[in-house]
Symmetry: C2
Subunit: 198 residues, 2 copies
Amino acid sequence: MSSSPLLAELIDALRCLPGVGAKTAQRMAFHVLERDRAGARRLSAALGTAVERIGNCTRCRTFSEEAVCGFCASASRDRAALCVVETPVDQLAIEQATGYRGQYFVLLGRLSPLDGIGPQELGLDRLAARLAEGEVQELIVATNPTVEGEATAHLLAQLASGAGIRASRIAHGVPLGGELEYIDRGTLAHAFGGRQEL
Amino acid sequence: MSSSPLLAELIDALRCLPGVGAKTAQRMAFHVLERDRAGARRLSAALGTAVERIGNCTRCRTFSEEAVCGFCASASRDRAALCVVETPVDQLAIEQATGYRGQYFVLLGRLSPLDGIGPQELGLDRLAARLAEGEVQELIVATNPTVEGEATAHLLAQLASGAGIRASRIAHGVPLGGELEYIDRGTLAHAFGGRQEL
């Protein structure tokens, strides 16, 4: 029992956030009520606005409240390079970690026929149309190194080849700072097979 | 840079939650946008309603959207016992862990003269008035075993004694399942000094 039904509802609603269980939700609810009502008001507004207004960019399918997102609309970004990722969060990771300043295309998933996710669901018709425009000269495939991600990469390579465009795949191997002793076999075999001349 | 200013605002707003840093906020924002917009809408509403409508019970000072909270209004709870806690979350912890079904009084803080928190800020005048009503027969002091919490407990004991009411303090000592070897010295000394006859 709690002293307040609204408080109980808040604690329960907080559990929609990933990694937030009953105890954490409780701590969060009490924290904002005791110490940060202004922050909670702002979060309430930001959440409400975000879910109502954020849709997908009509050009690259990433999250955007505009019909065309900031990346696609930017005049300063290289239009000859197109990086394909699975999700908007992958796009953000590349943007934050690398110096890449080309364009993106977001699949919003990966090839998974058993789940009913085929080329249509990944927007590959739109990607093909984009490649046919003639601006793109390199397709950088940055899908995840999972079975589905590799299958998706294979399909994307075919698409690029059909359009006469060079396709590349981001490198997979031993992560920086990783020790061979502790790397899983699959990664090590991949790194070994993919060795490059010094 | 992100593809969407609204998304950036949502990620930033999420950081008002305790324990949520930049990376976690990012993960939460993408999660709700990709997979749980209904949950996000509900959370937005719950947060907004909670901060607007949850105030403090006029009788026990806990969080409540009513003038008198569910605990104080309940006819089934023992009115002879009054448990004093520092915060609403302490009250919830006692309610969930123990079989206690008496009344509560929430200080919303602890004695801390350097921070300008004295008897007035803790509502001790209201507590004194409550004790003078004559219903309460035992004051259970459940402030935290910190320096400020102990000072507060001492003051509460004086208040009870002045009103001719029995005061008790919850026991402090070695936690269940704790091993003496790993308990801090202060707790162990306290547990040793507070030993009870078998």
